[in-house]
């Protein structure tokens, strides 16, 4: 953030933009996947499980945001939100398939 006299380079700007998108969109995807997974997997009545997923999704979003700006590169930012999303998606898919015979 300490701006040099010449201003930040183009690649720096692109990297920041990429991280921001990873945080905004990737983070939202991860938060959504987490809320779906909790809603389907948590051993609670349906409404309670859904509610728990919603309540916790914002914590996931927050952590994803922090990760995207704290990690070493924009690529890691994307990996850090997409990989867990895929994993949560797989678990949710499995849970959904087991629930609907």
């Amino acid at each position: 953030m300490t701006r040099k006299t010449a201003g930040p380079s183009l690649s720096y700007r692109l990297a920041v933009t990429s991280r921001s998108l990873a945080a905004l969109l990737g983070g939202y995807l991860l938060a959504s996947m987490a809320s779906i997974c909790i809603a389907l997997v948590a051993p609670l009545p349906r409404v309670d499980a859904t509610l728990t997923g919603l309540l916790l999704s914002f914590v996931v979003y927050l952590l994803a945001f922090i990760w995207c700006f704290a990690c070493r590169s924009a690529l890691r930012a994307w990996l850090g939100v997409l990989a867990p999303s895929v994993l949560l998606g797989l678990i949710s898919g499995l849970a959904y398939w087991m629930k609907t015979p």
Binding site: M1, T2, V16, A31, S32, M33, S35, I36, I38, A39, L40, L44, P45, R46, V47, D48, A49, T50, L51, T52, G53, L54, L55, S57, F58, Y61, L62, F65, I66, F69, A70, S92, Y96
Partner: protein, 525 residues
């Protein structure tokens, strides 16, 4: 934004704070005003008279009015007056009357006659603005909820940045320009940190069904109505049987509720199929009776026989968690002292955002202390800072002046009050563009000081319910509004004085600070 975790978090804190700070300031200020929504509405509609509370009599009055005027309607809604709200409101579904097929009237609790109050949104305007931002549905709610998320992010990144905040809390260095702003920002931020965390997280909880629908869709499919039925435990009333049967007197049902839950204050009563053998009457306990929203606190009666049919379903632990956040956010349970505490905490939140914005600019201005003009982007931030802070105060004052000055009979009067709010805001933006930074601040704050300090006088002259009357009559909502306006005026006058009087020492200090090598950590940006 490289080098280390804390530096990265400071960067995130700084830039999200800048981009969303202006909007967050407006959301926090109008949200803070909403803690006195009913009191503001009382001031905006002085025609609605306050009488001693008598729920049974109010119900009798409401029932008589609705039977005379809304016998044909399938749904009645009665909102009871309470310690804070003088109005007894009745509404009924009527395809031909009122907006969205719902007609509503305000009744005088003593006479039962409709009160012809001036057309005004009152406190409801600020309340709606703070989460809808005057945007079409659902965009305002999305944007304000996202702002709340950014606020939560700002708090967490702020804590990480200032991880020694308990030590820093006891460090206040007044009269030292930029340093004082930072100390103030930290001190206020830490002092009310629990409130800040609660208020921003709970705003997410309030609208989570809108902004995070994936979980609901995954377990309920497209039938989201089922989710809400499960959550709120609603029972739909049966269809009308088309067999006439007189509705039992509502006061008798009120007495039954008092037997079931002694001392319960009733918030609203819903009557379905009045005058039919399938009539249903639901009493809902006032939100002021519990911290958390309670879905269990309602009783449904057979409207023809008067028999108790059901009580609201009990809440699960998860529900109580969510409902507690909702209740804490809205603060309906708060008595006068706690309500003032809410108000001051809200102001503190507004101040944290405001000081943050001022600091962002101040720190960067130091580098240009010698030159005459600010670079374009800094000037833009300066103008937006002025318009979003002192300009918003002028807009709020404009709303209240319009409330007293627009003649009562004018068509679309309530809309003109809202227009006055936005016109005042727009003019303050123009003014901020035309004047230099300090002068714009000073002049707008001075005008705001006048506008607020003179409100009690204006109220006294136009309605005859000024402080001399309200203090004597013990009308504390009216008097409290006027006194708060006066206090706001004095505070703004003090601020304006600081801004207008002594630009010299500040400039000297600034240039001195610019010469000094910066000793601040990256976190202070």
């Amino acid at each position: 934004m490289k080098e280390g975790f804390r530096q990265a978090m400071a960067w995130l804190h700084t830039w999200t704070g800048l981009i969303f700070g202006w909007l967050l300031f407006a959301i926090f200020l109008t949200g803070t005003l909403s803690y006195f929504k009913e009191e503001i509405t009382h001031w905006s509609q002085p025609e609605v008279r306050r009488h001693a509370l008598d729920p049974a009599h109010s119900l009798e009055v409401a029932q008589r009015y609705l039977q005379d005027n809304a016998g044909h309607s399938g749904t009645w809604l009665i909102r009871m007056p309470n310690a804070r709200e003088a109005a007894l409101s009745v509404g009924y579904r009527d395809p031909d009357g009122g907006p969205r097929g719902f007609a509503s009237k305000t009744l005088d609790t003593r006479t039962g006659q409709p009160v012809e109050a001036r057309d005004s949104r009152g406190g409801e305007f600020f309340y709606r603005f703070h989460f809808q931002l005057q945007m079409p549905h659902p965009f305002g709610r999305w944007l304000s909820t996202f702002c709340a998320f950014i606020m939560l992010l700002g708090l967490v990144t702020g804590i990480i940045t200032h991880k020694k905040f308990f030590k820093e809390f006891f460090t206040f260095r007044p009269g030292k320009g930029q340093r004082s702003w930072l100390d103030g920002h930290n001190a206020i931020g830490v002092l009310v940190l629990p409130f800040h965390l609660m208020i921003s997280y709970s705003s997410l909880v309030l609208f989570m069904y809108m902004v995070m629908p994936a979980g609901i869709m995954a377990s309920y499919g497209n039938d989201t109505g089922k989710y809400f039925n499960d959550l709120f435990g609603r029972n739909d009333a049966p269809k009308a049987a088309h067999v006439a049967a007189p509705l039992v007197p509502l006061p008798s049902l009120y007495a039954k509720v008092q037997g079931l839950q002694p001392g319960a204050r009733i918030g609203r009563i819903q009557v379905e199929n009045a005058g039919d053998s399938n009539a249903r009457v639901t009493f809902t306990q006032s939100a002021a009776d519990h911290v958390a929203y309670r879905r269990s606190a309602n009783w449904t009666f057979d409207g023809a026989s008067g028999a108790l049919l059901s009580q609201g379903k009990p809440e699960s632990g998860v529900m109580m968690t969510a409902f507690s956040f909702a209740g804490l956010h809205m603060g309906n349970f708060a008595g006068p002292w706690l309500r003032w505490l809410y108000f001051f905490f809200g102001l503190a939140g507004t101040a944290v955002i405001g000081t943050g914005l001022v600091m962002w600019l101040g720190k960067r201005q130091l580098k240009h202390a010698g030159s005459e003009r600010l670079p374009g982007e800094l000037r833009l931030v300066e103008v937006l800072n002025i318009a979003s802070m002192s300009g918003l105060l002028l807009a709020v004052a404009g709303f209240f002046w319009a409330n007293r000055l627009i003649p009562v009979g004018v068509e679309g009067r309530a809309d003109w009050e809202v227009n006055a709010f936005f016109i005042a805001w727009g003019l303050s933006l123009v003014h901020a563009v035309l004047r230099s930074g300090r002068r714009a601040w000073g002049e707008q704050l001075a005008l705001g000081a006048l506008a607020f300090a003179l409100l009690p006088l204006l109220n006294g002259l136009t309605t005859g319910q000024g402080l001399n009357h309200s203090l004597q009559a013990g009308d504390w909502a009216m008097a409290g509004f006027d006194l708060t306006a006066l206090g706001t005026g004095l505070f703004l006058a003090w601020l304006a004085g600081k801004m207008l009087r002594s630009p010299k020492p500040m400039a000297r200090r600034a240039s001195r600070a610019a010469k000094k090598p910066s000793t601040e950590t990256a976190g202070a940006s």
